[in-house]
Symmetry: C2
Subunit: 432 residues, 2 copies
């Protein structure tokens, strides 16, 4: 929905655009604030202002309301001059995709939305230029809940291209909401990538004093520059303070808190390394050394894959249509990977139909196994496979990739059960 | 599927039944083990044996195979005599529902399945009779992945009945897989229940030396007998050792590991109490004292509720049919509760159709909020509500209850946003 004709005309007449500072007299009250983007679902006669308190308010505009422009929007930041390269420092290409780490729009429109350019961010955190030559590759600017499979594919291709053009590392600024999914997608698409590919984000936007954006960015840069580890990783705060940063394996990481700075946790595996506030890196396990091989992006993905969490009372008849239409289903089962006995005939029907049904656990922690209880054995007989301690989200991404890179369902199942990017462990290495 | 006619006849002729110890010569090999129940999906000519190693094996029986009975099944344990009541001790009624805590079938059939009677368990753990008079109410024997809404309703009614018949506490033996869901259901159905209602389970079956069944049962009994706290709780191991047990609030608890003894964790709230190995109870917050009021079970539930985890690439057209047919949908969104912009029109369509759409977070930890980013504001405008830091599973159970106990969707939404059983907190009390 857009503004009503009369309100559109009014805004046009007074020269108000997104980010203009307005004074609005309506219904006997006066409001002063920056004009926000129009909600898709708010009424056509509603203006939304960001007040100086930081709150947004929706104001209904009547025929007798008065709207004045007090200030134009803050100017769009100008493009930076290219940065000079220093000899002897590694070259890191920074790819922006948006997210909180690149959101800084308050000064212009008041909205928190992806707006800050990657070069702005480099300017704002000059420390990152001490350990590397940073160049920015324009890419996307969206919130990560809007990242989709095509974005993963483009990102994998851009990453491989930068590596093959000489980048010593690629750092990806990403919204935290789906960072784990993207990290998993890049892990499978880029395979044995010869350089560090590091995703980094922020839980709090750079314009807030408590922002974790600068410290995460510095830690990620240091790991890219000095870690000497090839692979796809996520670098984020390990603690609430700025004193420890965790380097997570891309297939093993999950956002476990909506707001804390230490929201990202490795599940069923330790982080591969930690950085302290001085940038000292401590590995917890064997790393893969970077090489001068070419990067290859295998980006084919089967889109007909769904993720379903099992719950008591789940009605198989409701989900039959979806499962039968899909080439793959990841079920987030209970405990060892179980579903109710009513769901098992549906699993059999989908498998008999050529679909691949992969079982994970809503516990998140620990190994799945369909060999311990009758329920599990019946699920196995029905055709389901369980994938050890793989995260549900990683299994969803991997199943898309496995189906697109196999000649048939059987081969895809084999791929699912083969560790490709440290996405699954065995009982010996698991945290039991 | 059952056995083929010829195999059924063979088993009948030699007098082999489930649990019989057999010797099988087939295809040149000899196998010795206990006869397991027949899989629903295994072939009609396959026998399944539990070998002495503990592994199961499926053996195809040919016309020339030889099958002999070596031993009959172990006898079914006889019914216990009723236990004598001691004066001055509280009366605890133990309701069995099945699960690992009540599974001990190895000696009879080799299968791990709910088989141990509640009175067997009382006999096996005589310590629990030191602090209370325990009586057993026969109820169900199933694995908790098969618990459904009707079971929750019967369980709430049985619990209220026992309290109203004089029980000082009710202890429910439950499989761990869906214990959190059942605990949440009882929390809403029983409201301000006047006595302790404690769910307890085991991660490892009582016949294993590492079983947590006895120690969990003792801790739960002690909390029922001496805790002096009314409400619905889950008591399970707090650590890997037998030295600390956590008492979780029924709406705040989640199984976070497939196999560890300390799998159960309170999320977004501390456990209300801990017990040490001596049974000393330490509360972390205010408890509600038991009263002599009657227990009331409000068990009405709206079955037309679904739980959907959002994921990148989720195709709204696939889920439109399900959401439009349901009276309520709980979406497990990303981060603060977000979905992709493609999903928002479907939320609006479902809400416009009178459905209630409730948003939670796959982070599990932390508050949801639809007020921070444009995505969230668009979801609010579409009609979705977010429910602070409520667990997705608890929100699913509560939405069924709220819809069945409201006159319309608006009233149900208000109920969803009102804390009823400590299922949601505010920013001040949350772990931030």
């Amino acid at each position: 929905m857009t503004y009503s004709v009369s309100l559109s005309k009014l805004l046009e007449n007074i020269g108000a655009t997104e980010g203009s500072k307005l004074s609005v007299d309506s219904n006997g009250k006066t409001y002063i604030g920056r004009l926000m983007p129009h909600h898709s679902f708010s009424g056509g006669d509603i203006l939304i202002l960001k007040l100086s308190s930081g709150y947004n308010i929706g104001i209904r505009i009547y025929a007798d309301s008065e709207v004045k422009v007090l200030e134009p929007p803050a100017p769009v930041p100008k493009k930076e001059a290219p940065l000079e390269k220093k000899k002897g420092l590694p070259n890191i290409v920074l790819i922006g995709t948006g997210g909180t780490i690149a959101s800084n729009a308050d000064n212009r429109t008041g909205a928190v939305r992806p707006a800050l350019s990657v070069s702005d961010l480099i300017e704002a955190v000059p420390e990152i230029r001490e350990s590397a030559n940073i160049s920015a590759r324009p890419f996307l600017s969206l919130f990560s809940e809007n990242m989709n499979v095509e974005h993963w594919q483009e990102l994998a291709e851009a990453t491989a291209e930068e590596i093959n053009n000489g980048a010593d590392a690629v750092m990806i600024l990403h919204g935290t909401d789906t960072m784990g999914y993207t990290a998993a997608a890049l892990s499978f698409m880029l395979g044995d990538v010869p350089k560090p590919v590091v995703l980094v984000g922020a839980q709090r936007s750079p314009d807030r004093p408590s922002s974790d954006a600068p410290s995460n960015l510095i830690a990620a840069t240091r790991f890219c520059a000095k870690g000497g580890a090839a692979g796809v990783f996520v670098v984020m705060h390990d603690t609430l303070e700025d004193d420890s940063f965790a380097v997570h394996i891309g297939t093993r990481v999950r956002k476990m808190h909506t707001s804390r700075r230490d929201a990202f946790k490795s599940i069923n595996a330790a982080p591969i390394a930690f950085l302290d506030e001085e940038g000292k890196i401590k590995f917890t396990k064997k790393k893969r050394d970077p090489t001068t091989e070419k990067a290859v992006a295998k980006t084919k993905m089967e889109r007909s894959v769904i993720l379903l969490q099992f719950y008591p009372g789940m009605d198989p008849s409701l989900f039959e249509g979806i499962m039968m239409r899909s080439k793959g289903t990841v079920i987030v089962g209970t405990g060892l990977g179980h579903v109710s006995e009513e769901m098992i005939p549906l699993i059999k029907k989908a498998c008999d139909n050529g679909s691949v049904v992969v079982v994970t656990s809503q516990c998140l922690g620990g190994m799945t196994s369909l060999h311990v209880y009758n329920t599990g054995r019946d699920m196995l007989s029905a055709g389901a496979i369980s994938v050890k301690d793989m995260l549900p989200e990683t299994a969803y991404v991997k199943l898309m990739w496995a189906l697109a890179n196999s000649k048939d369902a059987e081969e895809a199942k084999k791929l699912m059960m083969t560790p490709l990017a440290e996405e699954m462990g065995d009982r010996r290495t698991a945290d039991v």
